[in-house]
């Protein structure tokens, strides 16, 4: 082993330490949601005891205690700030997290394993907001999200329409000529199908793009790469082999920002979901109301509830300040069985 190899290991460990510190701060912020007050000296004492009893040979208790006191102090400082927590599905570096940053850089992003966890977290008040992808230009609609929108009572308070650029990443030191397998979310893999086949690479589906990046950094499988964002490359200390490996230049994903209740904000769009009676012209009758009011529809999606029975999603241009919109919704309510107004909100379009 040479000095530069040792230093490479040190760099890797440092990036892990920082990552873990960040994860710990996140947990502190979540704990705050269950506590009356920030200060809890009994709990601090408990943690310190655990830390002092650690079996690591080189870590003396004086050292660990001083570090942990710093950690407590910073964690309490963060808890004192009224930070907005936003849940997203995936690991840090996921595209959903990038979307949150486009919406508001101040929001703290908390990773969740499933979409369900995002919805539940917002519903229970653990998170202030949740962000979920709803459709992609290449991959189509994100089914589970639409189902959760129907079955839960969250409100849409914002949308972000964002370009998605994928990069091919490897663990540092991997020879690009030895890459055989590429890990990523199946949506991302399908968006780079031509690139993969041109270079004889085998796509391997993984639960998340950034999760694949994390796995690559931790386990360093031989001959493997992943497709994820450039942000993921920075977070997990990976090397960018090639940027923009997506097959279509205009690859975009639309994300929805969710909250437990409606927010007072400027709105230019509205999302609704409804079901209709099973009779001729029922859906047409609803669509006609929008046409007659001169309201532009931006998305229509039908999701099966039971065989032969559908829920319809409609997004349209309009604000809750416009009388014609409110009147039309009144009429729609009479024509449908079960109308749910998911929210009036503003949509942010990110260029590039």
């Amino acid at each position: 082993m040479k000095l530069n190899e040792v230093r490479q290991n040190i760099d890797l460990i440092d990036s892990k330490i920082l990552k873990l510190l960040n994860d710990r701060m996140e947990q502190g912020l979540l704990a705050k949601r269950f506590k009356e007050q920030i200060e809890d000296s009994a709990r601090e004492q408990e943690v310190l005891e655990q830390v002092n009893n650690n079996p690591n040979a080189l870590i003396e208790s004086e050292f660990s205690e001083s570090i942990y006191k710093l950690i407590f102090a910073f964690s309490k400082k963060l808890q004192a700030r009224e930070l907005c927590l936003t849940g997203f599905q995936g690991e840090h570096g996921a595209y959903s997290e990038e979307a949150v940053r486009h919406y508001n850089r101040e929001y703290v992003t908390i990773p969740c394993t499933t979409f369900n966890e995002v919805f539940e977290g917002v519903n229970s008040g653990l998170y202030d907001f949740g962000i979920v992808p709803v459709e992609n230009t290449l991959g189509g609609n994100v089914g589970p999200v639409n189902e959760l929108l129907i079955n839960t009572d969250l409100r849409i308070i914002g949308a972000i329409d964002m370009p998605v650029h994928h990069s091919l990443l490897t663990a540092p030191g991997t020879d690009y000529r030895e890459i055989r397998e590429v890990y990523s979310h199946s949506q991302a893999l399908s968006q780079c199908r031509c690139f993969l086949s041109r270079n004889n690479l085998t796509p391997i589906p993984y639960y998340d793009t950034a999760g694949a990046a994390k796995m690559l950094a931790e386990t360093k499988p031989r001959g493997a790469a992943c497709i994820a964002s450039k942000l993921a490359a920075e977070l997990y200390n990976l090397e960018v082999i090639k940027e923009r490996v997506e097959d279509l230049g205009s690859n975009r994903t639309r994300f929805l920002l969710l909250a437990k209740s409606n927010q007072e904000c400027e709105s230019s769009k509205c999302s609704i979901v409804f079901t209709t009676e099973h009779k001729a012209g029922a859906l047409f009758g609803v669509l006609r109301l929008f046409a007659e009011a001169g309201i532009n529809l931006t998305r229509i999606e039908s999701i099966p509830n039971e065989p032969g029975d559908y829920s319809y999603f409609i997004d349209f241009d309009g604000s809750n300040k416009e009388q014609v919109v409110l009147d039309t919704l009144d009429k729609v309510e009479k024509q449908t069985t079960g109308l749910k107004i998911l929210g009036f909100y503003d949509e942010k379009k990110v260029e590039g």
């Binding site: 690009y176 000529r177 041109r198 270079n199 004889n200 082999i241 090639k242």
Partner: protein, 283 residues
Amino acid sequence: MGNLKLVQLAENGKRTKIKVGSVMIGEGLVIVGGPCGVESEKQTLKTAEAVKTGGGMMFRGGAFKPRTSPYDFQGLGLEGLKLLARARENTGLPIVTEVIDPRDVSWVCEFADILQIGARNMQNFSLLREVGKTGKPVLLKRGMYSTLKEWLNCAEYILAEGNPNVILCERGIRTFETYTRNTLDLSMVPAVKELTHLPIFIDPSHGTGKLSLIEKMSLAAVAAGADGLLLEVHCNPSEAKSDADQQLTPDQFAALVKKITKLSRFMDEKLFKTSIITGGDQI
């Protein structure tokens, strides 16, 4: 000439034209400029800018360098390819770069517009087959010890794999002459034209290896009917890691392009387009 069924000029005299970016090869003179090797970000981007300003239509630079000695600078590899792609982003000039290893072909394709097969690899048949499978334009340099027949057979290898986009490039051959680095065989321009439908470029930088000879040989190449010129340009030739003695400064390049362009326009006259004496070898 052997079995050159795909390379040989057809009865109808139709010539190959290759569109690369906004440049049409085989239709007017194409000037390609750039350093021998991609050495650093600054050198690459600065030289690319100079090539563009000087009137160059494509940018060249080697990320993989096949060097005489294994201890010489071997190129930046993948990093070099990324820098070339950056140069294209900045200038809009298509990128010509050499590939020396069949395992690199698909990756070089990801970053470059034209794949160059260097003189030392002209008869590397597995490499020729690999670039033949890609469909990317290939600039096939003549080996320094190769006959015209051997050279054209190598082009035939690429076409036989299904890639019709081949550009031949004469870069000088070994003779007993020592004053010049190589002997630039300009007779290849009309020879290639009468035998094949493929475009032919001339590389006077390697062809002479002497800065003082490059201008005159460039003009001679244009007079002979070459479709393009490959010129080595470096933003600071004295600091170049390879071929320091044959790289033009940006000013020299710009002045040369001016002269070449003027002669090229003159040569476009119909009088020079047709030959007075015909009757070459049949393939």
